[in-house]
């Protein structure tokens, strides 16, 4: 505490130098006057008195110097003095100075730049929560890391319990044409949930919906349209019907073509082989029943999912 206080006062004194110098001068002057008076009273003659007082004091400048030394932070003052001297020396040797400064600048600059890159690329933590829990999963071929086949990915996603979630990623170049000139961009193709798995919040827009990541589900691409229809007044029932209709239409078309083909092949077979009828009623009936049912079921589930789309999610805009 004592040290701190005196250190603090020293620092303050550094800045009040001029004022304190004045005061010290006054004090020493008054000291000398008092001493001279005493001397005179003691009987010294007027020339002897001041000289004696000065000698006893030990010299005004020396006293001032020793007080000043004690007053300021002596280390700092001498440091500043030496700094000024050093600068003067450097200015006298411009060639050496500039060479040294440039070398240092280059060295420091290069180091800073390298460290910045290294830090950003290797050392800085990733800008999302729990980065140490994010891992890349590769498949192995002949002992080397390799990319994963889509079906393997789907199997692992379904069966694995070691991971919270698995996201498939790929990349490619695309041409982006908005109003104006098209440009080539690098893009990343991901399965749905890329952002939510990493805990990255989306301020605008949306992540891919789970149905958009399902293989062969074209109804997912109609999410925008379905959302729009719902915004225009379609109820869930109407959306369901819409999707079913479209699905069943495709199934029916397939059925008709299939039957046509069966008949044709059967007829051809009939003429070539013995004992095979062109049209087997049982087979046809069976197909005519089973296929539409299968088609219906295949359409119904995505239809239900479609009907649950939130219009605002599907239509997300600013």
């Amino acid at each position: 505490m004592k040290l701190l206080r005196s250190a603090g006062l020293r620092w303050c004194n550094l800045f009040q130098k001029a004022q304190l110098d004045c005061e010290l001068q006054d004090e020493l002057m008054s000291h000398l006057e008092l001493h001279i008076e005493d001397n005179l009273r003691a009987g010294m003659n007027p020339e002897e008195a001041p000289r004696n007082a000065l000698v006893k004091l030990g010299g005004i400048e020396q006293t001032k110097e020793s007080v000043r030394d004690h007053r300021g932070a002596p280390t700092l003052e001498s440091f500043l003095r030496q700094l000024r001297f050093a600068l003067r020396l450097l200015r006298r040797n411009p060639a050496f100075t500039s060479a040294a400064v440039l070398t240092l600048a280059l060295g420091i600059g290069a180091n800073t730049a390298i460290f910045t890159v290294v830090y950003a690329a290797l050392l800085a933590p990733l800008p999302y929560p729990n980065p140490d829990q994010v891992v890349m999963v590769w498949s192995k071929i002949n002992g080397h890391d390799n990319s994963v086949s889509p079906n393997d990915f789907l199997d692992w996603k379904r069966q694995s319990s070691a991971f919270q979630d698995l996201i498939a990623m790929s990349s490619g170049r695309f041409s982006l044409s908005s109003s104006g000139h098209p440009e080539v961009i690098q893009a990343r193709i991901t399965s749905p949930g890329f952002f939510s798995v990493q805990g990255i919040p989306l301020f605008l827009g949306r992540d891919f919906l789970p149905e958009e990541g399902t293989v062969g589900n074209e109804h997912a691409q109609r999410t925008h349209e379905i959302g729009l229809r719902m915004a225009l007044g379609a109820g869930q029932r109407q959306v369901l019907l819409l999707v079913l209709q479209q699905g069943m239409l495709l199934a029916s078309a397939g059925l008709v073509l299939g039957f046509g083909g069966t008949y044709f092949v059967g007829h051809t077979m009939n003429s070539i082989l013995y004992g095979i009828t062109a049209i087997d009623p049982l087979a046809i009936c069976l197909v005519a029943v089973v296929l539409p049912v299968a088609a219906f079921l295949a359409c119904y589930i995505p239809a239900r999912r479609a009907a649950r789309v939130d219009p605002m999610v599907a239509l997300r805009y600013e």
Partner: protein, 235 residues
Amino acid sequence: MPPLIQLRNIEKSFQAGAQKFYVLRRITLDIQPGEFVTFMGPSGAGKSTLLTILGMLDSAWSGEYFFLEQPVHKLTTKQRNELHKYNSGFVFQSYHLIDDLTVYENLEIPLSYKNIPQKERASLVCDALDRFNIVGKKDLFPNQLSGGQQQLVGIARAVIQNPKLILADEPTGNLHSAQGEEVMQLFKKLNDAGTTIIQVTHSEKNAAYGNRIIQLADGWLTCEKSAAAQSEPLR
């Protein structure tokens, strides 16, 4: 006469990590039937969000919203759909036409969801095509139309059944000034006939067609101006 719309402390926010971002904050206002209101303010102020909430297209908000004295905040999705289907028309900023349908079919869609018989639908659609001078385009697909034409179809779709309330998000954004004026004149005519109109726009000219301007900034209602251009700061 009771207000058409009553909002009490409507708030919308979303959580991003540990932080909560507010899109709308404590919005409280009344809109009387027959008013022509304009929401104005800088980008990101929440005007479009407020409009979608009013149009019952967004259900992620808190607070109280009374539409025709019905408490929307307490209704089920189905009930909300019915309410906005029969009473309001929405003009989207990015038109949102269905690409696989022709202009005629696009105009017919909202009618088909309201159980209107075929013949009546046909006459309403033809009427709209006429009104907007797009009869010649009725069999074209949206991707064959210019931005401005698509916008006209979007507007036609919203007004086709003369709803009680029209909500328009930047309705003249892609139209050239003559077309824009025509659209605003149409809105004015509808408003004179009793339709309540709420629009979001950046254009002072468009705002002048209305009789009430409400400013939003950072999700707050900041001030209101009546047609007499007297500014009364809120809060």
